[in-house]
């Protein structure tokens, strides 16, 4: 099978990740931060080492600011529900995922949507700038759209937040491991990550890097310390880590971080981008293909491409490709806001997303299937 659904999760994992998970299951299967025996302490030491490594990678101030969650959605919920209260105002981008939109709607606070321009970042920045109010508490935006691949001008938006005294949260689900993200340089207060995507970790793990205090907790429970107290600890990471951590996934994430560092984030992005660029160029003139974004520019687009095949729904097109052994994702990709902004809310799109394990012969196979209309005749 040719797997082009890497924006949902990367299916091919580096051998190092698989070995790290096995190592955790064989040699570190005690609960970290719960007991005093040697195996529990040894596991806790390793988890702490991974927090440090993660903090270093993303330029976080302290290792304890690295919080392990169940997934990126949970991390976003922790931030959105944790910092907002009645009377606050929020700005989000027009390309946000439901992981941002739904928790935000649930809080009941007022929010505005800043339109992302697919060609000119200056227009996107202007769009954000216009929406600030005196009570704007938080700005949340994705580092890169999970539907159209557009990379947002994070650093400039973060600077606006600093100047106006708002908190800045970034959904790094698609950007992490593919584009450089730095808490300090990019002015990020909260970074939410999906390690099972760009870091090739197992599913079931999210990361929240919190440089600012989160007043309200969403989940409370056992943290291994201060057990006699009825309230959550105030200090990170335990404040946001109730219950047992997914140690094998964290070990897998650590190996995935090493994989990305060793290969080089620029090299990974460059290789993935060239595949998407080639795909775009090869299908853009086909009358039966509809593309929604300008030709992707390096640095402005993540390796994600959306299209539709004329006369077929996105789901039908994905089914044809599946029969040909090509895995893509169709529909709304849990991001109706993004689809609304490009008028694809009713149809959805077919999304192609690549990883470091895809190659040109695979994209060429997809191109040849899309070129040959016979493949879509006998549906």
């Amino acid at each position: 099978m040719i797997y082009f659904d890497n924006a949902a999760t990367t299916a091919a994992k580096p051998l190092e990740v698989i070995k790290a998970v096995e190592n955790a299951l064989r040699n570190y299967s005690a609960n970290p931060g719960r007991s005093g025996h040697a195996l529990s302490i040894k596991t806790a030491e390793e988890i702490y080492r991974i927090r440090k490594k993660t903090a270093d990678f993303f330029g976080a101030k302290e290792a304890e600011n690295v919080v392990f969650t169940m997934n990126c959605t949970e991390a976003l919920n922790f931030v959105i529900k944790g910092v907002l209260s009645r009377g606050d105002h929020v700005i989000i981008s027009s390309l946000e995922h439901n992981a941002v939109l739904r928790p935000l709607v649930k809080t009941g606070v007022s929010f505005d949507v800043a339109r992302v321009d697919l060609k000119e970042d200056s227009k996107t920045i202007e769009s954000f700038k216009k929406l600030f109010r005196p009570n704007t508490k938080l700005v949340v935006c994705t580092a890169a759209s999970n539907v159209f691949g557009k990379i947002l001008p994070i650093r400039a938006i973060g600077k606006l937040c600093r100047e106006r005294g708002a908190l800045f949260a970034v959904d790094g689900a698609q950007g992490g491991g593919v584009i450089p993200l730095d808490m300090q340089k990019d002015n990020i207060d909260f970074l939410c990550l999906a390690p099972h995507k760009g870091f090739y970790a197992p599913m079931g793990l999210g990361v929240l890097i919190a440089e600012k205090y989160i007043p309200n907790t969403v989940i409370e429970g056992g943290t291994g310390t201060n057990s006699a107290q009825k309230i959550q600890p105030l200090e990170l990471p335990e404040r946001l880590e109730s219950g047992t951590l997914c140690v094998p996934a964290i070990f897998g994430f650590s190996a995935g971080l090493d994989f990305v560092k060793k290969k080089g984030i620029e090299k990974i992005y460059g290789g993935e981008f060239s595949l998407i660029e080639r795909l775009y160029k090869q299908i853009k003139d086909l009358p039966w293909i509809r593309l929604y974004t300008p030709e992707p520019t390096k640095g402005l687009y993540a390796p994600v491409l959306s299209f539709n095949y004329s006369g077929f729904s996105s789901e039908e097109t994905a089914a044809v490709l599946d029969k040909k052994g090509i895995a893509v994702r169709a529909g709304l990709h849990c991001a109706p806001l993004a689809h609304r902004s490009l008028w694809t809310e009713d149809t959805g799109t077919v999304r192609v997303s690549v990883s470091a394990f895809n190659n040109q012969s695979e994209t060429d196979r997809l191109i040849s299937v899309l070129w040959d209309q016979k493949n879509f005749k006998n549906l």
Partner: protein, 73 residues
Amino acid sequence: MTRYEIVTGSVTKALKGRDILRKNGINTRVERLAENDKKSGCGYALIVDGNVEKAEILLQKNGVRVLGINQRA
């Protein structure tokens, strides 16, 4: 030499404190509290032999809150 346990807020803070102290030449290790504190319950501590005042200053200076210092038998 008197042995002390420096009580920290969590295993993460204890491990951070361990790195800080070792970097500053103070030999230490992380252990579970010998006895549960009645107010706060179970937790983790840094074990040091002597030098406890210097250790405490270093920890506080580097963002590791010291919740208490107990003498160990």
